[in-house]
Symmetry: C6
Subunit: 262 residues, 6 copies
């Protein structure tokens, strides 16, 4: 039994998909991330024209993942991108990725990237208790249109939805945001913070999302390892195991488990 499962889960899904994918219906169109190893285990990248949720705890690499998605889009796939930052200013972000050889300013000058730092003042929250989603749409729409962006990142979802009063309203607003992004036709990444015993802070975002990727940072016996897992991918077969990944001066590299000799 054990043997059966191990075999099938490690090897066959990939092989089957490669061989038989076209024998049946049409596969969902995908957008390559350019992140080493990831496009392999997703059989092509993130769902095109849909939002993907990237979740994980502090220091897991969410922001770096998102930046790479935009930079590779702009430089390798000719898809301009918009980064809406709630946590870091444009300048901080630029400095943070400079060591990876990414020059955000150059990309911005070449109309390949817009970084928009949205600074939420306490007074804005205190009046209504929540962030104005309509205002975000205007601002984001303008940024997208200004460079014909095909990729969007919202970092992080908590900044947008922290003040919502009930789970049902959160659910409705999440759907509203995701619907807006789909209607805009962009392939989007929305980052989310890890909850206590749940994938996300509210334990709700992952149900509404079409695609969910978990970045994990685990320490056992003093050794820390990073793992990536595709929790969910509506409309696509995908590897379901945890894949180790590294963050080094070349950015993120995911190690597809099948490429490792045991």
């Amino acid at each position: 039994m054990k043997k059966f499962l191990n075999n099938s889960s490690k090897v066959s899904p990939i092989i089957r998909a490669t061989n038989n994918g076209k024998d049946r219906g049409v596969s969902l169109p995908k957008t390559p991330t350019g992140i080493q190893g990831l496009d392999e285990i997703t059989f092509g990248g993130l769902p095109q024209g849909r939002p993907t949720l990237i979740c994980g705890s502090a220091g897991c690499g969410k922001t770096l993942f998102s930046i790479e998605f935009l930079v590779h889009g702009a430089t390798r796939f000719n898809e301009p991108g918009v980064f809406i930052a709630f946590e870091e200013t444009e300048e901080d972000l630029r400095k943070n990725v400079a060591s990876l050889g990414y020059d955000l300013k150059d990309l911005a000058d070449r109309k390949k990237l817009v970084v928009d730092y949205v600074h939420i003042e306490r007074s804005e929250i205190e009046e209504t208790g929540e962030y104005d989603l309509g205002g975000l749409f205007v601002r984001l729409g303008y940024a997208i249109d200004s460079i014909g962006a095909k990729r969007v990142v919202l970092d992080t979802i908590e900044s947008i939805f922290a003040g919502l009063p009930t789970p049902s309203i959160l659910r409705a607003e999440l759907r509203r945001l995701f619907r807006w992004l789909k209607d805009k036709g962009v392939t989007a990444i929305v980052t989310g913070e890890r909850g206590d015993g749940t994938l996300t802070r509210q334990g709700l975002e992952e149900y509404v999302s079409d695609c969910v990727i978990l970045l994990d940072h685990r320490t056992r016996e003093q050794i820390s390892t990073r793992r990536l897992q595709i929790i969910k991918y509506r409309g696509s077969i995908h590897g379901t195991n945890e894949y180790p990944f590294l963050i080094d001066e070349r950015g993120i590299s995911v190690l597809p488990i099948t490429s490792i000799a045991l």
Copy 2:
């Protein structure tokens, strides 16, 4: 002792049921799902004319399970079906299952399937705090009657009941929904999200349901496996162990444990 249990739980329930089922009373009528392996471990399928709860966490395969139930019903058992979608639009759903070779549009054209995307606006929730069950009955009833549907899927129950104020009212409304479905004579699937340490978000739905199937997605030592378990099946003997299942380009395949040589 251990030996005794293992023997009986692995082998004998199935054998006993096959041999002796007719020797005693009349068995509950069942509706085949057409999902590979499932009809075997349920001794025939889901309880006919009753609702079944399919629960699991994000990415467990709830929606795919539900779609297969309807598609097989429409194509192999001549039972038209209705899919009430709260999470995905008809178009998204269609794209998502295209890779499995399912053509939802064709089924809809042939009056074998109705997909109805119910879009809940925030304003609707804010007025009363809950979704209008009466309105759902009208809409669902119309869809059922329009094609003479025998199968119904509601995806997901959380969308309907998230705003209910107390557990006792939730219980009453769940019974009201299930009673309506039974009166309508349809075999229904209602999907539910996993709770924190409970089968369902409220830890209540599973008690009110006649049949409960749990889809689990578990990661141990970096290897992910999917398991299906029949938690409850009023009026029927059923296998109680966890059964591994796969999701690949041919859809869901449950592996009845008895068919595996150890």
Copy 3:
């Protein structure tokens, strides 16, 4: 030490009780359940004229246990019974146990059984927030008197007490219900749903009850086993270990651990 405990807990309580029970005071009168194996480990059955709490999670077999108690009472011990159902209609219940060879309609016709489905409307709860215990007493009293019932089942306690505002009022109302049942002289079963880390949903019912039996449904290493444990039995010695039980087409069979050769 270990050896000492194992010996005493597995073997001696039963032997001692059998030999010495009459040497001392008078034993509490008991009502046989007719459930295979259970009357052995309880040394005679449930406490006569008192309510017993049967608790467990969804699918554990609470309702089946209760039905068997009534059916065996009616057919083998000449004790008519009343089943107050909050979860299932009379018809559903009838269908559910037909496969076990139980004909509830025939028993009802022969005045051996009354099944009363109590349907709680949302509007009833919303007015006072709780179910009317006085009304239940009238209804239950009438049913008992109509056939001279000696056995009663209330399925489930959650339906009755879900709306009570505080633990102290719940405690008072539980005592009121149990007192009423005792005054009526019936041997009763009240079913209760499992709580999160507690035996019952409120973690209170088991303290007020004279007799508590836990039905457990456990999955380890993909193999599921059912266990029954007598948590509490005021006024009686009882086996305290967990006993495996089966549910098959012959109903529930408890395996008294002493009858198994290791």
Copy 4:
């Protein structure tokens, strides 16, 4: 290290206490329980003239422990006792202990025992939200004086204090109850229900009590064992390990670990 601890904790406390107890100050006066084995591990019994908290989950033997304390007091140590019952009527209690050969009625007739069933109506709770401690003192004082009782049992503390609004008021009222019992000069047992991860329901009672004994009922690998542990004993050395105990037709027997050859 391990060896050192094991030796000292298993053997030496008892030996040291026996030898040296009188060499130093005066030992706290104690009241023998007459429960087999318990007076040995407490070096004489419960603290005389003080209340002791006996806590444990449903079915752990709290009430039986309390009854034995009173019956042995009345029959072997010439100390009449009062049992204030909130959970069981006098008649139920009488029946429950009859199988142990205890005749509560005879003891009552001989002025050796008063059993007073205090029935708390819902209406009493609803007015003030809590039980009237002053009324209890009057009632209990009358019962004590009527037979010159030296021992008192209150079963259970939850019935008295469930409605108190805050932890600080609970603490104040617990002290008030314990102070009243001490002023009355009786050796008392107060029973308490197990909390979720705490010794008692409120996690507070054990700090206010002078003596705390935990009765545990544990199931491992399907085998159930009972354990008794003296959590706290102000003013006295005591065995601190867990001691196995049995409940059979001769009542409770605690097994002092030192009397067992390993």
Copy 5:
């Protein structure tokens, strides 16, 4: 690696401190407790002129620890002490330590000790919801001045702060109490009850305290052991391991791990 850590943590801190302590700055002045073994692992005792928090669950020995601190101070170090008791009366306390050969009355007569039992009535709490810290300062100040006390014990902190409305106010009041004690120049012990998963009930007291000692009472495999750990000691190096300790008729003895041959 493991070897390195074990070596350093078991042996070297003590050796280094003994050798090099004077080579660098001035060590914090300390007050010997006189408790066997403790002054060794703290390199001299508790921080002089500062409050120390002693925390642990019911029966861990907090009060006994505190009493020994005062008795040894009065008899061996010529430092009179004040014990503010919220849980036990002076008489109860006296009886409880008599078996250790401590005569509190004699110490009181010789002006070496003041035991002041502060009885908090429910009515006092109900008015303001909290205990009057100002009143405590007056009372405590009077007791200190009356015998020129150098040591103070407050048993327990929960009695003082249970009614405070918010964590920030608790923090402010804790600082106020600790500041008052420091200004008074006394070496103080404040006892605290264990919280659920935290060192203290509020999980806050340990951050505000200069020195924190945890008394633990652990049961594994039926054998109970007591452990003492210095969680925190501002301004001093200290052993950080858990040290076993005994409570017997000679009081508390801590076993410095270095003095045990393995």
Copy 6:
């Protein structure tokens, strides 16, 4: 697989960074802490001109870490520093670090250090429920300017933000504080208390911070060890494993795991 991970995580990140760091973009400027071993695993120290969060439970060494950062800055790197203390007075702090050979008074006299003890009265909190951030900025700005400070410590963040009403306001205020510190151009340490199952008390601070270091104090099998882990470091590669560290009379020493022969 395992082998692969261990190799890469233990050895290669350091080597790669040393060799290739300059081959790509510009590395983030860093401020050396002077703490033995730490500057090695951070490849240079803390992020210059940004705030770093140092979190851990009571007694973990947060304050000592912060003091060393300032003292080394003042004495070895010619960077004056400001310490805003909420927990300890200047005098207490001075005494506490004297044993390490640090003379805070001398540093203050030489204009290398300002220690400012901010005493929050209960009355200040009760009026608005929170601490006045604007007032802190004035006070801190004045202290910074008075000595031209380049380093700042705020000990602890809980003292500043404990009274904030909601997570979204806390998030906004944290950003406001961090932004102010960045605008001031100082390299700052903000200390935070450990939460229950989260890195920080609110589980929020670590997401907003650019750099997060966890100090852990763990006891296993009675042996206590200290571990340091860099949870997050925006814009920099860093060692991700747990590194053991010691606190002795020479202060904190972190042991870079690569320097240990296994």
